[in-house]
C-alpha cells in the first residue's frame, strides 16, 4: 500500500484563530482511514481544506503524488477527490435525480446514465424517490443521496464528514454498511466521525485530532476503545 493522500504540516485559520495547527497524516490507497476527535478539534476544517473549499495558510496536501493544496475545489474534484459534506448538504429544492446529475457535473463521458443506474441498484430507496425533492427525504435518505452524489464523480478518494451525524442507530448501521461496501469495491475512504465505536469497527487506521493537532495515530486495537472514545469526545486535556 502507498499513501494516496499525504497531508503535511497543514495550517488553516479563520482570521487569527488557527483551527488546524500543523496537521500531518496519510491515507493509504485502498484503506478506510478514520479521523476522530471532539467538537471544535478541526475535523471539518481539515476536510474542507483538503477539498479546496478552505485555503490553508501553510503546509501541503498531496493526492496521488500531486500537490492539491490551494487549488480550487473543481480541480480537486476533477483530480478524483470527492467530499460528502457534513450535514449532507443535498440540494433541497432539486429532485433526487437532479442531485445525482449534479455529482457528475465535471464528467463529459458517456457512462453517466450507466453509473446512475448502478447507484440506483445500490440505493433502491433513491430510485423510489428519484423524482422527489431532496429536501423532503429523511435524514438517512439524504445521507445516502449525498454519498451517491459524490460517487457520481467517480472519486478515487472519498472524504466523508460525519456521515452518522444526527441519524438513528439503525440508519447509522446502514451507513457504515455502505462505507464497508464502497471500500470492498475499491474506493479509498477518509472518514471523520464522532461515533468512535462504529468507526473503529470499519477503519484500518485511525488518527485522533485535538485542538488542531494530531495527538495519536494507530490501528484499531492499538489503544483501548474506551480510551479512544473518551479522547474522541472529550479530548485528552485534563481540566
Amino acid at each position: 500500500m502507498s499513501a494516496m493522500l499525504e497531508v503535511r504540516d497543514l495550517v488553516t485559520a479563520y482570521g487569527k484563530i488557527e483551527a488546524l495547527r500543523g496537521v500531518s497524516l496519510e491515507v493509504q490507497a485502498g484503506s478506510i482511514t478514520c479521523l476522530l476527535g471532539p467538537n471544535g478539534a478541526g475535523k471539518t476544517t481539515l476536510m474542507m481544506t483538503i477539498a479546496g473549499i478552505l485555503r490553508p495558510r501553510a503546509g501541503s496536501v498531496r493526492f496521488a503524488g500531486r500537490e492539491i493544496a490551494r487549488r480550487p475545489p473543481h480541480e480537486i474534484v476533477g483530480a478524483g477527490v470527492a467530499l460528502v459534506p457534513e450535514n449532507r448538504l443535498v440540494f433541497p429544492g432539486m429532485s433526487v435525480r437532479e442531485n445525482l446529475y449534479a455529482g457528475a457535473y465535471l464528467r463529459r463521458d458517456g457512462e453517466i446514465e450507466a453509473d446512475l443506474e448502478r447507484l440506483f441498484e445500490r440505493f433502491p430507496r433513491l430510485r423510489e424517490r428519484a423524482g422527489q425533492d431532496a429536501g423532503t427525504l429523511s435524514g438517512g435518505e439524504q445521507q445516502m443521496l449525498a454519498v451517491a452524489r459524490s460517487l457520481m464523480s467517480r472519486p478515487k478518494l472519498l472524504l466523508m464528514d460525519e456521515p452518522s451525524l444526527g441519524l438513528a442507530p439503525l440508519v447509522v448501521e446502514e451507513i457504515f454498511r455502505i462505507v464497508a461496501d464502497l471500500h470492498r469495491d475499491g474506493t479509498t475512504i477518509f472518514l471523520v466521525e464522532q461515533n468512535a465505536h462504529m468507526a473503529l469497527r470499519v477503519a484500518h487506521h485511525f488518527y485522533l485530532i485535538e485542538q488542531g493537532r494530531i495527538t495519536f495515530s494507530g490501528d484499531p486495537g492499538s489503544l483501548a476503545e474506551d480510551e479512544v472514545i473518551r479522547r474522541a469526545y472529550l479530548g485528552s486535556a485534563r481540566r
Binding site: 440540494f91 429544492g93 446529475y101 457535473y105 464523480s153
Partner: protein
C-alpha cells in the same frame, strides 16, 4: 389605444429588467446594480442612434454588450462578498453610475439643435422610432419580440444543465463546490448575462420614451428589478412576467384613480401578495 400600447411597452421593458435580476437571483445573489446596467445600455445605444446615426438593431446589440461588459467587470470583485455586503457593494456601483450620468455631457450640433446627453437635464430627442415612421404599435411589437426571445432563451436555459448549476449554487455553495462547480465562473456568468439583458432593456426604454435622465435609473428602479422575480417567484420566468403585470398593470395603473393613497395600498398589496404566495405568484411545486 396608445395608452394601452404604452403600458404594454412598459410592461415589456420591465419584464426584461426583472429577468436580468432573475438570472442573478438564481445563484443566490442579490444585485442592486441592475439599474446601472440598464442605464449603460440606454445611454450607449441612445448615443449610437442619435449621435452616430446607427440603426436601432446594431445599437441594441452594442447596448447589450456594454451592459454585459459592465456586469462582468462588477461581477469579479463584487461577488467575492456575499449577502448584505453584496447588496451594499452593488448599490454603491449603481449609484456611482447614476451620478456619472448626472454629470455626463457629450453634445454635438445637429441642424439647429444640439443633441446628446446633457448632465442633469438628461438625454433628450432619442428619436429613432418617430424619425423612421415607427408607430407605437410597431415599437410595442419590437419590444415584445425581445421579451419573447429572452424569455424563451431563459426558459430553455432554466431547464438545461446550466440552469441546474445556477440553482445548485443558489441552494448551497459548499455542496456546489464539493461536486466541482466553479463558483466564481458561475456567478460572474450569471451576472454577465443579466447585464446583457438589462442593457437591452435600457436600449428599448431609451428609444420608446425618447428622453432619459439619471433619475430614470435610481435605486427605486433597481429595487423593482429584484422585486419582480421575488414577488413572481424563482420557479419560472413566467413568475417575473406575472409580477410585472401585477405591479405595473394593476397596482400602478389600475389603482390610479385612488390618487395619493395608491402608494400606500401598493406597498400593502405587495406585502399581502408575498404572504399569501410566499413562493411567488407562479410556482411549480407545492409549499
Amino acid at each position: 389605444m396608445d395608452f394601452y400600447f404604452g403600458l404594454i411597452q412598459l410592461i415589456g421593458v420591465h419584464t426584461l429588467l426583472g429577468l436580468s435580476a432573475y438570472i442573478v437571483l438564481l445563484t443566490g445573489q442579490v444585485s442592486l446594480a441592475q439599474a446601472a446596467f440598464y442605464a449603460i445600455g440606454a445611454y450607449v445605444s441612445g448615443m449610437l442612434t442619435v449621435l452616430a446615426e446607427w440603426h436601432i438593431v446594431p445599437a441594441l446589440a452594442v447596448g447589450g454588450l456594454a451592459g454585459a461588459a459592465a456586469a462582468c467587470a462588477v461581477g469579479f470583485p463584487a461577488l467575492r462578498v456575499k449577502g448584505l455586503m453584496l447588496v451594499i457593494a452593488t448599490l454603491a456601483f449603481g449609484e456611482g453610475v447614476r451620478i456619472f450620468f448626472f454629470n455626463f455631457d457629450y453634445q454635438i450640433a445637429k441642424g439647429d439643435i444640439k443633441v446628446g446627453p446633457l448632465g442633469g437635464e438628461g438625454f433628450r430627442q432619442i428619436r429613432f422610432f418617430p424619425e423612421n415612421g415607427w408607430t407605437t404599435f410597431d415599437v410595442m411589437l419590437f419590444i415584445w419580440l425581445f421579451v419573447v426571445l429572452v424569455m424563451a432563451l431563459l426558459w430553455w436555459f432554466d431547464r438545461s444543465r446550466y440552469g441546474a448549476v445556477l440553482r445548485a449554487v443558489g441552494e448551497d455553495e459548499v455542496a456546489a463546490q464539493s461536486v466541482g462547480v466553479n463558483l466564481t465562473a458561475v456567478k460572474v456568468s450569471a451576472m454577465t448575462v443579466g447585464g446583457a439583458i438589462a442593457g437591452i432593456a435600457g436600449c428599448l426604454y431609451a428609444h420608446y420614451t425618447t428622453h432619459i435622465e439619471h433619475a430614470s435609473f435610481n435605486v427605486l428602479v433597481a429595487t423593482f428589478a429584484i422585486a419582480y422575480p421575488i414577488v413572481g417567484g424563482l420557479q419560472s420566468v413566467f413568475g417575473t412576467l406575472a409580477a410585472v403585470v401585477f405591479v405595473q398593470g394593476f397596482l400602478v395603473e389600475g389603482l390610479r384613480e385612488l390618487g395619493d393613497w395608491r402608494n400606500l395600498l401598493f406597498g400593502a398589496l405587495i406585502v399581502l401578495a408575498m404572504n399569501l404566495r410566499p413562493q411567488g405568484l407562479f410556482w411549480r411545486r407545492g409549499a
